[in-house]
Symmetry: C2
Subunit: 187 residues, 2 copies
């Protein structure tokens, strides 16, 4: 099978990296613990809670040289993906920020650092994942829309508070601990 | 229809940009006029002709900060793509260099400069184009292989000396002047 795997908050812990950088760079500002992050995008929760000025603060962190490169790996994710890749064709599908200057190349770098240099060839950067051929897409985004309706893949969620309202999709723990039970066809 | 369009030597004139930069940076070195470029990759012709040292010279030009951003547009290509996009869904599919640091983000920049900022959303960076859904792929590469065999799209060539040996594929002039005759289904 062809398995597509999203990057941010699935392999690369964007949420943890953002929170750590926010607290480091702006210790005087409020922050939201990971367990309470209930919107898909950081700004959708921070800006209404704390004010418009947070938009610029978020942008300045996300677009920083080195922010993506330094994101920690989601615990359990790399081991799971390497095991899935033994019997399946795995590709990593990710949408860079609108400011691609660091976000795009650092996604390749992150893969080289955290999975292996040969895996850089497996990264597909796209703003429309419905155009990518696959059987399963493992992604934390609640709904994934695009030109191909319906997409040919089945979306499987990585569980986060901000996608708990979604019903009818298979769901893997955030630490990937139950992927073999949830996706037995990949074992 | 979904039309995928390659970038290097199809929209962005990689060959012209490389030749100009080579002559500018190394006026003492030999160079190959565009009409005599008979291999798909620059190094496949330069290195056997002029020696191994040319490999490093080519790499240093291709990976330069600003090289991709400054490539000229292929004459006729942007007008053709904008017209095709009136009646079709167009996406730009491109493989960055293995050194993605400038090549990946500058492909987005190039599109913003030469086509329009909203077109950046239509760029798909992938090393395997057979995984991208489409009806037609306009690409200068003689053979395009990947995981999906056969790909679902039909490849249409942009004519270059290095792909003249390919038979059985529709072919558009390098200046796109005959695209409406060759691809009437897109008009």
């Amino acid at each position: 099978m062809i398995v597509l795997v999203d990057m941010d908050s699935v392999l690369a812990d964007f949420e943890a990296g953002f929170l750590a950088r926010l607290r480091e760079k702006h210790p005087e500002l409020p922050s939201i613990p990971l367990g309470q992050r209930v919107t898909f995008k950081v700004r959708e929760q921070y800006v209404p809670l704390f004010g418009d000025y947070f938009g610029e603060i978020i942008k300045s962190i996300e677009t920083e040289n080195g922010f993506f490169r330094a994101l920690p790996a989601v615990a359990g994710s790399i081991e799971a993906v390497l095991e899935i890749a033994k019997k399946n064709d795995v590709f990593i599908t990710s949408s860079p920020l609108k400011e691609q200057k660091y976000s795009a190349p650092e996604k390749y770098e992150w893969i080289g650092i955290n999975i292996g240099a040969e895996w850089k060839q497996r990264l597909i950067l796209t703003y429309d994942k419905t155009l990518v051929k696959g059987d399963i897409l493992i992604d934390d985004k609640p709904e994934i829309a695009g030109l191909a309706k319906p997409p040919q893949w089945e979306q499987v969620l990585i569980d986060w508070p901000y996608n708990r309202h979604v019903n009818g999709k298979r769901r893997i723990n955030r630490d990937w601990s139950d992927w073999k039970e949830i996706l037995p066809e990949l074992v």
